[in-house]
Amino acid sequence: MDASELQPVLDFLKSLVPFDDLSEQTLLQCCKRLTIGYYGKAQGYVPLDADNPQLYIVRSGAFEVTDPDGELIDRLGEGDYFGFPSLLSGEVNTRVHILEDALVYHLDLESFDDLRKESRLFDRFFNRAYAKRMRHQGRFKAKELTTTSRIRTLMSSSPLTIDMQSTILQAAQLMRQARVSSVLVIDNHKLAGILTDRDLRNRVLAEGLDGALPVHQAMTTTPITVHPNTIVFEAMLLMSEHSIHHLPVVEEDKAVGVITSTDILRGQSSQPLLLIGEIERQKDLPSLINVSKQIPLLLQNLISADARAEEIGRILTSVTDALTRRLIHLNQQVLGEAPMPFCWLSFGSQGRQDQAACSDQDNGLLLAHEPDEHAKAYFEALTKAVCAGLNECGYVYCPGDIMAQNPQWCMSLEKWQGVFEQWVMSPQPKALMHASIFFDMRSVYGPISLFDALQDRVLANTKGNDIFLAGLAGNALSEAPPLGFFRKFVLERDGSEVKGIDLKHRGSALINDIARVYSLFAGIKEVNTAKRIRVLMEMNIINRKDALNLADAHEFIGHMRLANQGHQFTHDQACTNYLLPQNLSSLVRHQLRDAFKVVHDAQSGMKLKFTRTF
C-alpha cells in the first residue's frame, strides 16, 4: 500500500496541528494505525474507556466535553481532539456528549506515545491542551471554590440569638434545642458577644458558674467578626490565627449570621487551603518542591476563576508564607532551636501580599539582639537553607541579593532600626530605591512583638517627615502611567518582544508607590496596597472619591496583568508584564485608559502635596 491509496485520510491528518509537524512517512504509519468509529447522536455519550485510552480525532460531527457534574468544558468540531487527558493522565474525568453524528478517528496509546516521542511539537501541543483543559475545568469548578467565594454563601443565616439579660441556662437550653454549638448574644439589636460550647465548658462548668447568672458573664465579649462579603479563605485564616471555630457575621452593625469551621469544611473542596495544608504536612525538601509545583496551576485556576487580583495576590502570598514557615520549621528540626527569638521578614510583593507569577524572593531576618559567633553561624546556616529551599520551590534568588542569607539583611533589631532611620534621615537615591522594597515589610515567622518594635520605630521616623516623604514622592514620580498626548497608550519594548504596555512598572507599581507614600506619611502599619488605600480613606487622608478610584484602578490593572499572564501561559509565551493593546476590545482599552488616568491624577495630587510642585 503506498501513500496515495489513503490520500483522503492522510490529507486530513496533514491539515491538523500538530500532525502537520510529522513526516510523510510517520503520517502514513499513523494512518495505518487508526481505527475509525462512528458516533450517532442518539447514542448520547462517547463511551470512554480508562483501560484503553485513545486519542479521538473528530473527522466530522460535533461534541461537547463536560466535567462529571455536567459543566461545560469545551465544544469540539471537525479537526478537534478529545481523550488526550486520559492518554496523559490515565484518568477519565470528562464526559463527551455527542451533539451531531460524528465520524471519529482513533489513535491508541502506543501510537500516541510514539508520535510524542517522534515530535516535540506534537508532545507540547497535547500537554498544553491538557493544561488548558485542566484550567477550563477549573473555571467552572472555581465558581464554587470555597476560598474565593464569600462568607454569605456558606454562613447560616437567621442565626440563633439571645438577649444579654437571659441566663446562661436559658442559653444552653436554646442551643440544645436548636442543636447548634453557639449562640449570639444581642444587646439592643447589636451584637454584644458570642457564647459557644467551649465557653460553657471553660467559663461555666470549669469555673463552677451559676446557670442562673446572666449570659453576658460567660460569653466572649466583642468577638472577632466578619462581613458577609469577606472571602471564606480569610475567615479560615482568622479562625486558625485565633484558634476559634465560630465567627459572627455582621453587616451594618447587625448580626446576620454565624460561620463555623464546620460550615467551611463542609463546603470545602478548595485548592489553596488544601495546598497550604499539604505544605504543612510535608516532611522534607524534595516533597515540598514537589508540592510547590502546584502553585502555578493554582494561580492559573484562580485567574480563570476570575478571582479579584487582590485576592489572588493574598492567596498566593499565603501559600508562599506557609512554604517559608515550613522551610524554617524543617530546617530548625535539623539545626535545633534558635539561640534567640527572630522574625523572618518578607519585603516587596510578598510583604504587600501582592504576589503573582514569576516572583522572586525578597526577605530578611530580624534578630532580637546582637548575635554572638555561635548565633551568627546558626542563622547563617538557617537562612542559607531556607533561601535555597525557596529557590528550589520556584521563588528564585533575588537578583538584588535582598535575602536573609545576605549578612547585610540579617541584623539585630537595633541595627535594623538604625538602617531604616538612616534611610529616612538621609533619603539618598539608593535609600529611596530600597524604600519601595523594604518599607513594605511583614513578618512571616516569629514573635509579633519583635516585629512591632521595628515597625513602630520605622513609622515613628517616617510619620510627618516631609523631607523624606518629598524624596519618596519624587522617586515615585520618576515613572508615569503610559498615556501620551491625546491619551494614547505609550508602548515600550521589553527586550526583544513586540511593543506593549508595561502594566507593572507603569501601573501597579505606581499605585503601590502612591499608597506607600501616604501610608508612611500617616504612620499606617498596613502594607497591602488595597488595605492601605482603604485605611487612608477612612482616615480621610485621601479623599473618598479619589481613594475609591485608585483602589478600582489598582484592582483593574492588577486584573489585566494577571489575565495577560494567564493568556501568556496558555499560549506558552514567556511570562511578562507587557500587554499588547491590539489584543484588547475597545471597551477594555477605554477602561484601561481611565485606570491610567486615575493613576496620573493621583500622582499629580501626591506631587502637589508632598513635593509642593505641580
Binding site: 532611620e421 538612616q422 491624577d601 502635596k609 509642593r612 510642585t613 505641580f614
Partner: protein, 572 residues
C-alpha cells in the same frame, strides 16, 4: 541682523534649551542617575540653587541701584549675601533635621498649633506676592525694550510667559533646567561686563577693572582711576560722591539687617536645601551656590561704575555740556520708546543734559541700567540680545519657585488643611492653578504700578519675611520656651507693624517718605529689621505670661540641636 531679531533668536534658543532639558531629564535619565547611585552632584545643585536665588532683582535692578546711588546700593549686596550665609549655615541644617519641607509646616509643628501654621502660611503668601511683583516689573522691562513696546505691555507679556512657564510647563523645579538657566544668566551678565572692562581699563576681570586705571582707545593708561573719575563726575554734576554713602548709618544697618534676616526667612529658598539627600552634600552645595552667586555679586559694583561713567559721558558729551538731541546716542532713543527714559528740554537748547538739580533734563529709570549697558558701550547686537535672555532666565526661575509656594500654600495649606478638608486631588490641583493665576495677576498689577524700583520692592518682601517668619523659625530652633501664643502674637505684630509702616510711606503718603518723617530714621526698606525686633520682644513677652511649652515639643527641639544616640541622623 538687528537687535530685535537676535533677541527673538537667542531668547527662543534658551527656551528651547530649557524645554529640551526638561524632556530629556523626564525621559528616564533621572532614573539612570539613581541606578548609578550618583544623585545630583553638589556643584550642579549649587548652580541650580544660585539660579533660584538670583532673581530679576539681582540681575536687572541691583546694578542699576548701585549705579545710581553708589555706595548706598551696597546694602543690598551685603544683606542678601549675609542672609544666604545665615540661612545655609545656621538654619537649614536644623530645619532639615526637623524633617519639615516648608516653613509653615515647621512652624505649625514646632508651635503645635494649626493657627500658627495658618499665620505662617499667610505670611509666606504675603511675602511671595511682594517678591513676585518685583520679578514681574523686571520681566516687563525686558520685554518692553526688546519688543519695543511700553513697559505696561511688557509686563502683560511677561505675565503670560511666566504663567505658562509656572503653571503649564513641566520645566520648573528640574535641576538641570535651572543649571541651564544659571549658565545663560551668568554668561549674559559677565560678557558685557568683561567687554566693557577690557575697553575701559584693559583688564579682563571686571572685579579688577573696578579698581584699576582707565585706558584710552589706544590702550595706554591715562593715569586716572575709574572710581576717582566717577567721583569727579558725580561732584561736577551735583550728585553725592559715588564712593560715599548718603544714607544714615542707622538706616544702612536696618536695611542690611532686614535684607539679611528676610533672606533667611524666605520660604522658596529654604526648600532648596531639602532636595539634596545628604546633609553633607547640602552643605557643600550651599557653598558652591555661594561661589556662583559671588561671581555675579562681585561684578555688580564694577558694572555699575562702568555703565555710570559711560552713561554720563554719552549723554553729556566730552565737554560735559550735553549733546544735541539729534546726535544723541541710539540707546537713548531706543529706551525712550519704552517710556523708561524721558527727556525734557528745559533750557530749550536742543541738547540733552544729565545732572542733579534743576538743570537736569533726563529722567532715567534705574532698572534699565544692566539692560542698557551693552548698548551704551556700543557692544555688538548679540550681546544685547544675550542680556535679554539672561534677564528672563533670572525672572523665570525665581518667579516659578515663588508661584509654586503661593499656589500650593493656598490650595494645600489653606484650603485642604483648613477650609475644605474633603476636596479631591483634582480640585486641589485646580485651586493651585487658580491661585497661581491670581498670584500673577496681582503681581502684574504691582509690576505696572510699582511702589518702587524692582530691588526696592523686593526689599520690602524681605522686610516682611524678616519681621514675621524669621523670628518664628529662629526661636523655634533655638528656644524651648517660646510657646504657640508667643509665636503667633510675634508674627502678627511683626508683620502688621512692618506692613503698616511700608504701606503708609509707600502708598498712602509717598510724599512724606523722607528721613525726616521716618521712625528712628529708618526707611521703609529697613523697617523689617525693627519689625523683627518687635516680633522677638512680643513673642518672649507673651510666652512668659502664657502656658508652658509641652514637654514633648521641648524634647523635639532638644533633638534638633543635639542628635541623640548613634541614630546616624547626620551624614553617612
Amino acid at each position: 541682523m538687528d537687535v530685535q531679531t537676535l533677541t527673538y533668536l537667542i531668547v527662543g534658543f534658551t527656551f528651547a534649551l530649557y524645554i529640551g532639558i526638561a524632556i530629556w531629564s523626564r525621559a528616564g535619565s533621572t532614573k539612570e542617575f539613581y541606578v548609578a547611585g550618583g544623585g545630583v552632584h553638589p556643584v550642579v545643585n549649587g548652580m541650580a540653587t544660585a539660579a533660584d536665588w538670583m532673581s530679576a532683582a539681582s540681575f536687572i535692578s541691583l546694578a542699576g541701584i548701585v549705579s545710581f546711588v553708589g555706595f548706598d546700593g551696597s546694602v543690598y549686596l551685603m544683606g542678601w549675601t549675609g542672609g544666604y550665609v545665615l540661612l545655609a549655615l545656621c538654619m537649614a541644617p536644623y530645619l532639615r533635621k526637623f524633617g519639615k519641607f516648608t516653613v509653615p509646616d515647621f512652624i505649625g509643628d514646632r508651635y503645635y498649633s494649626q493657627a500658627a501654621r495658618t499665620v505662617a502660611v499667610v505670611c509666606a503668601i504675603f511675602i511671595c506676592f511682594t517678591y513676585i511683583a518685583g520679578q514681574m516689573r523686571g520681566v516687563g522691562v525686558v520685554f518692553s525694550r526688546f519688543l519695543e513696546v511700553d513697559v505696561e505691555t511688557g509686563v502683560y507679556i511677561g505675565m503670560a510667559v511666566v504663567f505658562f512657564y509656572a503653571v503649564l510647563g513641566g520645566m520648573k523645579g528640574i535641576t538641570y533646567t535651572q543649571v541651564a538657566q544659571y549658565c545663560v544668566l551668568i554668561f549674559a551678565f559677565m560678557v558685557p561686563a568683561i567687554f566693557i572692562s577690557v575697553m575701559m581699563t584693559g583688564h579682563i576681570l571686571p572685579q579688577i577693572g573696578f579698581g584699576a586705571e582707565l585706558v584710552d582707545a589706544a590702550g595706554n593708561g591715562t593715569g586716572t582711576y575709574l572710581l576717582d573719575k566717577l567721583d569727579g563726575l558725580s561732584n561736577e554734576l551735583g550728585f553725592a560722591q559715588y564712593t560715599e554713602g548718603s544714607k544714615s548709618t542707622i538706616d544702612v544697618f536696618f536695611i542690611t539687617g532686614a535684607l539679611m534676616f528676610g533672606t533667611a526667612g524666605l520660604p522658596h529658598v529654604i526648600v532648596r536645601f531639602f532636595t539634596v539627600p545628604k546633609v553633607k552634600d547640602s552643605r557643600s552645595s550651599a557653598g558652591w551656590a555661594l561661589v556662583f552667586i559671588a561671581i555675579m555679586y562681585t561684578t555688580i559694583p564694577a558694572l555699575a561704575a562702568f555703565s555710570r561713567v559711560n552713561m554720563i559721558e554719552t549723554i553729556n558729551g566730552p565737554d560735559s555740556t550735553g549733546v544735541a538731541y539729534e546726535t544723541a546716542p541710539q540707546w537713548i532713543k531706543n529706551w525712550e520708546k519704552t517710556g523708561l527714559i524721558k527727556w525734557d528740554d528745559k533750557n530749550a537748547d536742543g541738547k540733552i543734559y544729565y545732572a542733579k538739580g534743576p538743570e537736569n533734563e533726563m529722567k532715567i529709570d534705574r532698572d534699565i541700567m544692566v539692560l542698557a549697558t551693552p548698548e551704551i558701550a556700543d557692544l555688538p547686537a548679540w550681546v544685547i540680545a544675550l542680556v535679554a535672555a539672561g534677564g528672563l532666565a533670572a525672572a523665570l526661575s525665581t518667579s516659578a519657585g515663588l508661584l509654586l509656594v503661593i499656589s500650593t500654600s493656598v490650595s494645600h495649606d489653606l484650603l485642604k488643611k483648613n477650609l475644605m478638608p474633603d476636596i479631591s486631588d483634582k480640585k486641589e490641583l485646580m485651586f493651585a492653578r487658580i491661585a497661581a493665576a491670581a498670584g500673577i495677576v496681582m503681581a502684574g498689577y504691582f509690576g505696572i504700578n510699582p511702589p518702587g524700583f524692582v530691588a526696592a520692592v523686593v526689599a520690602i518682601a524681605f522686610g516682611l519675611a524678616a519681621s514675621s517668619l524669621f523670628p518664628a523659625i529662629v526661636m523655634g530652633i533655638f528656644s524651648k520656651t517660646i510657646n504657640k501664643e508667643g509665636a503667633i502674637a510675634g508674627m502678627i505684630t511683626g508683620l502688621g507693624f512692618t506692613a503698616a509702616y511700608i504701606i503708609y510711606f509707600k502708598f498712602m503718603n509717598p510724599g512724606d517718605n523722607n528721613p525726616a518723617n521716618w521712625f528712628l530714621g529708618v526707611s521703609p526698606e529697613g523697617i523689617g529689621m525693627l519689625g523683627m525686633l518687635i516680633n522677638f520682644a512680643v513673642a518672649f513677652g507673651v510666652s512668659k505670661v502664657t502656658a508652658k511649652v509641652p514637654d514633648s515639643v521641648q524634647e523635639m527641639v532638644e533633638g534638633i540641636r543635639f542628635p541623640k544616640g548613634s541614630g546616624g541622623a547626620q551624614s553617612h
